[in-house]
Structure formats: C-alpha cells, structure tokens
C-alpha cells in the first residue's frame, strides 16, 4: 500500500518548515494582508481535510518576499498553494524554489481565471484538468425514498478495501485523495456507505455533512464488474437520505466526465460558475 514519503529535498532543505496548526496559517494570512498590497490565495482551509496534512507531517511552508508558499507532499507530486500580495509576487517567489517532483496548483475562481492561468503558464505549468462545482439548493431527498437493504456503513475492516479502490481508480492529481487515517475517520463518522457481494466490494460512496445545512459528495465509486446494476444509484440515494435535512448539496466534478455530469443533472444538480483549474508542472531531470 502506498504511503506518503517526503522527498529528500524537503528533508534536506531546512528553509521549508512544517506547518503545525491552523492558527499558523491564519498568521500567514494576517501578515500578508497587513502589508496592504493586495491579497490572493488558492488555499482555503478545510476542517475536514487539512488537519490530516498537519498530523501526517506532509504540510510545509516557505516564507518569501510578500508571499508564503505552502507545500503538501503527495505520492509522486507536490501541491503548491500561495498566500500572497499578488500573483506576480508569488511568481517571483516561486522561481526561487526547487522541488524534485511534479508540482500541482489548483486555481479556484469564480470566472475563467485567465490572468491566473497565464501567469502559471509563464512559470512552466500546463492545464491538467478543470473541475466544476455543481450544487442543488433545497431539500433533495424525497420522503418516499427508501434505503436499500444492501447499503451498509463501512466499518474498520472495510477501510483498507475502500482506500485501495480510491488509490487505484481515482486520479490523485485532481481528486485530492484521502489518507488511510482520513478514510478510517470517515468510516467512524458513518460517512462511507458501501455495497458488498460477500467479501467483494461492489461500490462505495463517501460524503460529508457540514453542520445540518450542507451535504457534500466526496467520492462515488462502482467496481467495473458491478456497473449498470444500479449500485451507484442505491448508494447515492442512501447518502442523500442521511443528509435529508440539508438545504444545500454540492460536489466537484471533472469537466470532461460527461457521464457523471449527466447523472448529477438527473438528480437536479446544476453547474455553478466556480471552477477549479488544476495546473501541473512536470519535473524534468
């Protein structure tokens, strides 16, 4: 099973310090904003995700002029985030650093993000994928919906199976795959629904509930040999029943995944004008 391994560069490079808390990130934001020279970022703290990066020591930063660059070490690539007075300041700071694997930057914006993307292209990045945010506003689960008896909550013994399927079938570069501990905690919170055929995994769905208002689909998977058997529909319905009190349901989908988009639209989800452009810079020896 793959595990996150820090690159030699990060171990050797004492300039990159570990991020140890949420408060520390807030201090970075404060420091940059207080320069009163503008503020841009592609880092949005997620209580359900980022604490794990701190716990597994895979989250680092480097302080530069007018900019903090944050690094999240993944298997085979590094996610880059900026907290900066401007993209130009980030661009200058970025040119001072070197990392010996592929770099990935997500640009989340409410428009086409042309300015941001052009600057990143100038730094050697190329477009990898684009994701849309899709949402449904209002109650979604119908009172008449019944949960299929086949759907169960994943338990501790199922966690490895789910983790392996995630890492085999999802794209780690644009789908921000969870660590084993994260998957374990999703299971503990009863946020992994699954259907099994004996010991075989037919499909699973991971979702989050933010308070009582928002349902968020994280991962939805059907094993290839069980497709077209309504496994996915049963899982989705069951999770929406669990989140039936929510007034907003949302998810991110890869823009060229037309089948998935059609399925979400079928359930009443609509595309928002919020995009996540995933840009990659390939490491060259």
């Amino acid at each position: 099973m793959p595990v996150v391994k820090l690159t030699d560069h990060i171990i050797r490079n004492k300039l990159m310090d570990k991020i140890v808390s949420y408060e520390q990130v807030i201090e970075f934001v404060g420091e940059i904003r207080n320069l009163r020279q503008g503020y841009v970022t592609n880092f949005f703290w997620d209580e359900q995700k980022h604490p794990y990066w701190i716990l597994d020591n895979s989250f680092f930063y480097e302080k530069c002029e007018n900019c903090y660059i944050l690094f999240h070490q993944n298997i085979g690539f590094t996610n880059i985030f900026y907290i900066s007075t401007s993209l130009e300041a980030f661009s200058e700071a970025y040119q001072q650093i070197t990392i010996n694997n592929d770099h990935v930057i997500d640009v989340v914006c409410r428009n086409e993000g042309k300015g941001e993307l052009d600057i990143l292209k100038g730094l050697g990045y190329e477009p990898y994928k684009c994701l849309y945010r899709m949402s449904h506003i209002g109650l979604l689960a119908d009172d008449n919906w019944e949960r299929s008896d086949e759907v169960v909550y994943a338990n501790d013994l199922d966690v490895d199976m789910v983790y392996e399927a995630l890492h085999q079938d999802f794209d780690p570069i644009c789908e921000q795959l969870p660590s084993l501990q994260e998957v374990r905690d999703f299971a503990k919170r009863q946020q992994i629904l699954m259907i099994k055929d004996g010991e075989k995994l037919c499909g699973f769905l991971i979702f989050e509930l933010s308070g009582t208002t928002t349902w968020y689909l994280r991962y939805w998977y059907t094993s290839p040999e069980y497709r077209n058997m309504r496994i996915g529909a049963k899982l989705l319905k069951a999770s929406l029943i669990d989140g039936k009190m929510t007034k907003r349901q949302q998810l991110w989908v890869i823009s060229d995944n037309e089948n998935a988009i059609k399925r979400y639209e079928h359930y009443g989800f609509v595309k928002e004008k919020i995009y996540d452009y995933v840009m990659i810079k390939r490491y060259k020896l």
Binding site: I26, E27, V29, G30, E31, I32, R33, N34, R36, T41, F44, W45, D46, V108, R110, I137, G138, L209, S210, G211, T212, T213, T214, K247, R248, I274
Partner: protein, 77 residues
Amino acid sequence: MKEKIIEILSDLRSEFDFSEEGVDFIKEGMIDSFDMVCLVDELEQQFGIKISGVDITSKNFSTVASIEALLKKNGVE
C-alpha cells in the same frame, strides 16, 4: 448595518436564512473558507474599510453579531 450584513451573506449563499439569531454559520456549514475570502472582500468594498489580517478568523465571521462587532472595530457606524 445588520441588514446590510445579512444582505451580503444572502448574496453569497442565497439558500440560507442568515437572519436567524445565534446560528454559527461556520459550524453549521453555511459558509466555508472560500466564501469567507469572498465575504471579506465584499465587506471591505461595501463598507470602504481594510480588515486587518489578524482579524480574519472563523470566530469573527461566525454570526451576524460577530461580523457587526468587527465592522464597528474598523470604524463603521
């Protein structure tokens, strides 16, 4: 000021009722950190202020009352 804050929040997330007293928007998942960045920009533009970086914490944006207190601290009447 309270009405204006509610209006800005509602523009950001029209599906929620921000006028309900005592609701913690962050804990309830009504706004996330992406919304919070947009909210700070909007408050700064609408009220003509600059919010200090150290004040950009979840606590200061979790209720209408906390946002109101933050604006007052920044000289908004």
